[in-house]
Symmetry: C2
Subunit: 190 residues, 2 copies
């Protein structure tokens, strides 16, 4: 049911997604939803929260797996890969979060913002490690550029196309670190 809600969110946004649709998707009636959630807002708070949970979990997994890694660029690429994985490989929760968060009413958003802030903090800390020479005032901006490039992939990237998620993660990382010219040389440093 949360899955169905997330998929509808991706396709239609918050207001256009009705409880009757979600109920029909899983073969129940709209009123039955209220046995599990107090309101539409409550249901989608859960969906958006899971969207962040998936991201945070993926981030944490990479952090432990890459513990003894000495090449900082590899660490970054692994985290980029994890973020893309959360977007494309772990259900629609993260995708729903990224695409539909701003279509939700403000009361709902403000309940989610603390979770978002936590995730953003982790990325800031990561980027501070990977890029120690970067002016700390520029760091959040660099992160926002990276997030922009990663998150808009849901609008165009096709999992079944020629480019794999690994390849996409590598492209984004190289482009982010070294600029567009380095795109032709991708994977040459491995």
């Amino acid at each position: 049911m949360l899955d169905a809600a997330a998929e509808r969110l991706v396709a239609q946004g918050y207001t256009a997604t009705t409880l009757r649709e979600i109920a029909a998707d899983i073969g129940i009636k709209a009123g039955s939803i209220y046995h599990h959630f107090e309101s539409k807002e409550d249901l989608f708070i859960e969906v958006f929260s899971r969207g962040i949970e998936v991201m945070v979990d993926a981030f944490g997994d990479v952090d432990t797996a890459m513990n003894g890694c000495d090449r900082e660029s590899d660490r970054l690429e692994a985290h980029v890969r994890a973020h893309l994985g959360a977007l494309f490989e772990h259900g629609s929760f993260t995708a729903a979060h990224v695409t539909a968060f701003f279509t939700a009413p403000e009361e709902l958003r403000s309940a989610i913002v603390p979770l978002r802030d936590d995730y953003e903090h982790r990325w800031n800390a990561l980027l501070a490690d990977v890029l120690p020479e970067l002016d700390s005032a520029r760091l959040p901006i660099a992160r926002l550029f990276l997030f922009g490039a990663m998150n808009t992939t849901i609008e165009w990237f096709d999992l079944s196309g020629d480019l794999s998620l690994d390849g996409l993660a590598n492209l984004i990382t190289v482009q982010f670190l070294e600029g567009v010219d380095a795109l032709n040389l991708q994977r040459s440093t491995r």
Copy 2:
């Protein structure tokens, strides 16, 4: 009235924006909208179209103004600045387009897609000029990265903050061309 519609679009998305709200914003009643447009869909087709128009016009202006420019990176930066200008300085049409386009029903979107394609083609051509050594298969991807970085600025950039639009355009261009490390050296090549 189109302005009011665009502002509501940015704040609430397509479905959550009601004709009664738009009418109230400009001091008329909802029914009166139908004297100017045949339907809600018709009204927002006009709004989305203008959003692209603003971008295309800004692009064209830079093209003529930068005609004799020999430094390709300056040309690119001027176009980035123009795109950001369309987002932040020419009403809410472009901002509405970028944020709310995917919240609109599909029939409406398909009426707008040709205009979008035209704008994307211009950028592809520009990038092919600026980056002749870039693999042509990578070119659309590079453009999508750049678009992602530019368009997500509406979610965080503050016109009244320390960073100016010129500065932001420079940051994005440098970051795009040379990578994140070059951010510390911005404007040093001028």
